[in-house]
């Protein structure tokens, strides 16, 4: 247990860095991935092609290769990014490809008639997406997006390979001194489990809130109360 109790500051710092990596990586993935999905369903062919190429590259490339490529390849191209931001960048590049496909498939679940109806009342391309398609699509995307969140949490551990001082990196460093691999990795496994589980919980709550029956119930109750 010494290995853990003696190194609580380092481990907390590691957990903090992991959380920061995850949050930044996931947030940017959501934004960038949604934009990509918009490109993929847009009526402009070059945008569609560019987004497709992007997705096929970054969805099919192992995170670790991407990380090492960014960490050691970019400086040779003249761009020396701090290692932490290299980690965030890799998570975003990879995560946004998955978010894009999730959002796109979510959009495709909305019947085309809804979009046509929205357009017929005068909404433009973005208006249709913003007010009609995306709110409906989001409901079906909750669980896949939670999966991507968990993937981001777990994927952040790969940043240890390029010396981002996150949880796995700190654990490896501590283990090198204490020779307590089983204990340390049990501990780290539990921490990752908690982080991923918390994400899953949020997803579950969101899904419940957004479920059509619940929305309907709330609506009927309100009508009932008003009557």
């Amino acid at each position: 247990m010494d290995a853990i109790t003696d190194n609580i500051p380092a481990l907390l710092h590691g957990i903090g860095t992991t959380c920061l990596l995850t949050i930044l990586g996931y947030a940017f993935s959501l934004v960038f991935g949604t934009l990509l999905a918009v490109c993929r369903v847009s009526p402009i062919p070059p945008l569609r092609w560019a987004a497709t190429v992007y997705v096929e590259i970054f969805r099919n490339m192992p995170m670790l290769s991407l990380l090492v490529l960014l960490a050691f390849g970019m400086p040779d191209a003249g761009l020396l990014l701090p290692l932490f931001w290299t980690g965030v960048l890799a998570l975003v590049l990879s995560g946004s490809a998955f978010v894009c496909e999730t959002v796109r498939s979510g959009i495709n679940t909305v019947p085309i008639g809804h979009a046509e109806a929205a357009r017929s009342i005068g909404l433009g391309f973005f208006g249709v997406l913003r007010f009609v398609v995306l709110p409906q699509a989001f409901r079906t995307m909750v669980q896949p997006l939670v999966n991507i969140f968990i993937g981001t949490v777990i994927g952040s551990s790969l940043c240890a390979a390029v010396a981002v001082p996150e949880l796995t990196y700190q654990t490896q460093a501590i283990n090198n001194q204490y020779a307590q691999a089983v204990l340390m990795f049990l501990f780290v496994g539990a921490v990752y489990l908690c982080l991923a589980f918390a994400g899953g919980l949020v997803g579950w709550l969101l899904e419940r809130r957004l479920s059509p029956t619940r929305l309907l119930n709330r609506h009927t109750t309100r009508i009932g109360a008003g009557a």
Partner: protein
Amino acid sequence: MNPSTRPSRRALLGAAALLPVGAALAACSSSGSDAPAIGGSGGSDGGGGSNVGSDYDEIIAGGPVADDATVSGSEWAQGIKEAGKLKRGGTTTGQIFSLKDPSTGKVTGFDAGITQLLAQYILGKDSTEKIDYLDTTVETRETMLQNGTVDVVVATYSITAPRMEKVNFAGPYYSSGAAIQVRSDDDSITSVDDLKGKKITTESASTGYDAIMKHVPDAQDSDIQQFAENDQCIAALKQKRVDAYVLDQSILLSNAVADDSLKVVGEPFTKDPYGIGLSKDHEDSLDFVNGFLQKIYDDGTWAKLWKATIGQVVEGDTPAPPTIGDTAATE
């Protein structure tokens, strides 16, 4: 908005567009790894592709073989003899110490030599093929010894007090020391004191971190970047992510030999004994392996092996072998 898709045409276009981008990425990656491939440094002949002297095989073949009584006197050694294989934990990607030539499958180096000599000592002549080289990492070494996945760990395995609680160490068979590597055009760092406030890299599986924390004045955790591979540490140094690279002197020297843009400054500032890791379940193995080491120390095989491996990059005379049981690291 048109959510319906025409996948076949798009997929085709996507695939076509992917080709040049993939090629560009590949080009990018190759330029990213212009760190020296040290395996080829010593063997400019290309055939061997290894960094060991040409008499390496001869030295191994000339090593001692234990008589039957010695082997049967140790339950551990007898077990290995009956199995007909020595299972060694370590790495086959370590410069100078244990490097596998991908074209021949041959593993050479100082640690590899010690392993091959030990296999020959137990199993008899022509036993260098009877070794299972299993990969162990810093995370797995102790556990793999404890559960018997490997018989020995010979892997630049530094003897430290926490590790001695879990496994036995025969030896030390080599006493190493951490040194400093900098870029050739950097004259600001000449000793460990000059590392104060500098960014430093080291291999994550080494004792470099400890050496830095103990010897560099006011060393900060956040100033140290640990990478898994030597090549990555070199890249970080050359790309100016860090100002210095601290690791075992012999590895740094071989980097400097392979790459003009790197140099080693000063003398080693720690003493770091390497031992052969053994399971505590087989207490008899400790005496047996120590007996083996003493034999290769006495008959000069150890010195020849040193000369053919580490001696290829370290200048000066072959040192005297370390004293067995002298496990104290200078901290």
